[in-house]
């Protein structure tokens, strides 16, 4: 028994073998995913999220189509005034009176009836007003030369920024707090003592981060699929073509951005012993996750702020795809930002693991950050 200095295989009748680090990690990740997928609350909220996403994409599509064409009644004499204008849905009727009747009945927004008024040769008839869009469509406008014809308009920029910001904020917060709660649950119930007498602490942490990252990415990919299908079905393929690359970059940035946040959320969870105390350590992280959402809403038209945000790891998943969508990023910029992100991610995993290891078995009062980092 004492002849061998190295730890030899235990003499044992049972076939139990030490699982490899990777196996342990995968077992933990599998449990994280499995228990979340079995939670009715999670499934329902994800379903609602997907439905809302689908509705906003489809509604956006129809709104864009219907608002385009203004229904207008014309006569044979005035039909030429609107001919070839896609934004006007002309209905030709036999007489000026018939056209007026259509306005009264509300079937059309306005009617063009022949008159002597110069220089148009027709009068626009409305019920109690006339769409200003129609007037501007009918007015004579000077020729406009755009120096940057591809630039996206402000409204679209706002909604795309809002979309990325909201999705990042919601997914990161949902799964970030999931991981923090799951860490506290294990600590509060002392399951953690059983777990780490079986597997290394780092395997436990890695499994939890990977499991929740899989869930978060699953949600992101589901939302992206809904967006793509929705835009295609509603015929907004132009918008989709512009969103393809930003969506792909968003997914990549989100992946690493979430691993970064998940490590920190796990560490924050490990520092407390009860679910009630979880807010005291996760609040700073929650603010960190919400910041890019608000910044991108307020500053989506400020190139300097957006450029800075696209390199800060916490806001890059939102700001960089928006910049790519707007055509404001050089090809190397997302790559450089990704390198910054990966470096930060490595540091966060290291710090998170240290705090987690030092705090996970310390029950009772909240573990102070300095103690968690120094021990």
């Amino acid at each position: 028994m004492t002849t061998s200095a190295t730890p030899s295989v235990m003499p044992s009748a049972t076939p139990s073998v030490t699982p490899s680090f990777a196996q342990s990690v995968w077992l933990v990740a599998e449990r994280e995913v499995g228990s979340k997928l079995r939670s009715k609350a999670f499934l329902i909220s994800t379903g609602i999220l997907f439905v809302i996403a689908l509705i906003s994409v489809v509604w956006g599509g129809f709104a864009a189509q219907t608002s385009d064409a203004i229904p207008v009644a014309v006569t044979a004499d005035t039909a030429s005034a609107v001919a070839g204008n896609d934004l006007i849905d002309a209905t030709q009727v036999a007489s000026a009176d018939a056209a007026r009747d259509l306005v009264r009945s509300g079937d059309v927004d306005a009617a063009l009836v022949p008159s002597d008024a110069q220089p148009f040769g027709y009068t626009v008839v409305g019920e109690d007003g006339v769409p200003s869009t129609l007037l501007s469509l009918l007015s004579v406008t000077p020729t406009v030369e755009l120096l940057n014809p591809d630039a996206t308009d402000g409204m679209l920029r706002y909604f795309v920024a809002l979309g990325f910001g909201l999705v990042f904020f919601m997914a990161a917060l949902t799964f970030g707090s999931t991981i923090a709660q799951s860490v506290v649950e294990e600590k509060a119930t002392r399951v953690v003592e059983l777990l780490i007498s079986a597997i290394p602490v780092r395997a436990l942490l890695a499994g939890k981060v990977i499991g929740n990252t899989i869930l978060a990415m699953g949600q992101i990919i589901g939302l992206a699929a809904i967006a793509i299908i929705g835009f295609t079905v509603t015929g907004q393929s132009d918008l989709l073509a512009g969103l393809g690359a930003p969506l792909a970059w968003f997914a990549v940035f989100f992946l690493f951005g979430f691993v970064l946040l998940a490590s920190l959320f796990a560490a924050a969870g490990a520092m407390v012993s009860r679910q009630e105390d979880i807010g005291s350590t996760t609040t700073p992280l929650t603010l960190l996750v919400m910041a890019p959402y608000f910044l991108v809403i307020f500053f989506n038209d400020n190139d300097l702020v957006m450029s800075i945000m696209s390199y800060v790891p916490f806001s890059a998943p939102v700001a960089m795809p928006v910049r790519i969508f707007l055509g404001g990023a050089q090809w190397w910029e997302p790559l450089l930002s990704l390198v910054v992100m990966l470096a930060t991610c490595a540091v966060a995993i290291w710090v998170g693991a240290k705090i987690y290891e030092n705090s996970i078995l310390r029950m009772g009062a909240r573990v102070k950050l300095a103690e968690a980092l120094s021990a």
Partner: protein
């Protein structure tokens, strides 16, 4: 054999364990007895490595315990806990798999063990829906499912009804018979007395007594005898070297100075009339416990 030696642990200025040392032999049940705050849980957590010791060693068969040794330890923590929203069977299977069993074998083991512990009807229920006693059984399954060679159980019998105590006790005895070293703490001294082979008594962070249960009893025996005879045993009062503790007609409880005195009393009793019983009285564990912790 698991051996602790010179284990010391302080929280700030308070020294909760002072040079704690004892052995837990393979194939035997060792009862770990002490009052509240005596250091039982701290000692157990140190054995499991979930708490760091200030000094001292924990060895298994002479070699320091490593992380991979601990994977073959079974542990029941003082504060119970399993995942509340996980099904009983699934949870035990999960723990077995973390200890290295394949899915099929983990399932087979977990099922067999839960059935043995009387949870066969509850395999698919969430842990939080179980009664406290059944949660306790599930917790014991969690400690046993990977066939540990060392079992460290903190109060495995608390909260169990007498029938459940017997079920758990027989499961533990079987594990010991299969060669596991079992250390369990308990406040229920009668259960410990009935079950354990060896005893460790701790008070105020120091070990007060260790040894086999029978040795300890013999050590603390006061040469007390009980006599039940047909005739009046009043003559006992006049015997030399005898101190009568209780007396009632043919019944007497008495202490003797030496074994020779006891033999002499027995001969005289037989001569005086029919003897129904003449037996040495063992001190109960509760008596020994009170004596050593003072």
């Amino acid at each position: 054999m698991l051996e602790l030696s010179g284990i010391t642990k302080s929280y700030g200025a308070a020294r909760v364990l002072d040079e704690v040392g004892f052995q837990v032999a393979s194939g035997r049940l060792t009862g770990f007895v002490g009052g509240n705050g005596a250091g039982k849980t701290t000692t157990m957590r140190i054995i499991l490595g979930v708490l760091a010791r200030d000094s001292g060693t924990v060895t298994l068969d002479g070699a320091p315990v490593t992380a991979s040794d601990r994977r073959r330890f079974g542990y029941m923590p003082e504060e119970r806990g399993l995942y509340p929203k996980m099904r009983v069977l699934e949870q035990i299977v999960y723990l077995a798999r973390l200890h290295g069993f394949g899915k099929a074998e983990a399932t087979a083991r977990a099922e067999a063990l839960l059935v043995e512990l009387g949870l066969g009807e509850r395999l698919q229920e969430n842990v939080e829906t179980l009664s406290l006693g059944n949660q306790q059984r599930a917790q014991i399954a969690a400690a046993l499912v990977h066939d540990p060679r060392v079992l460290i159980l903190d109060e495995p019998f608390s909260g169990l009804d007498p029938l459940a105590v017997d079920v758990v006790a027989s499961v533990l005895q079987r594990r010991a018979a299969d060669g596991a070293a079992v250390l369990f703490s308990s406040h229920q001294l009668d259960v410990v007395e009935r079950l354990c082979d060896d005893l460790v008594i701790i008070a105020g962070g120091t070990i007060r007594a260790t040894g086999s249960r029978d040795e300890l009893r013999a050590e603390h025996a006061q040469r007390r005898f009980e006599l039940i005879s047909g005739g009046d045993a009043g003559w006992l009062r006049d015997e030399q070297g005898v101190t009568v503790v209780e007396f009632d007609g043919g019944y007497a409880l008495f202490d003797v100075d030496s074994d020779e005195v006891a033999q002499r009393v027995l001969r005289r009793a037989v001569a005086a009339g029919d003897v129904a019983s003449f037996a040495p009285q063992h001190p109960s564990l509760a008596q020994i416990f009170k004596e050593v912790i003072q």
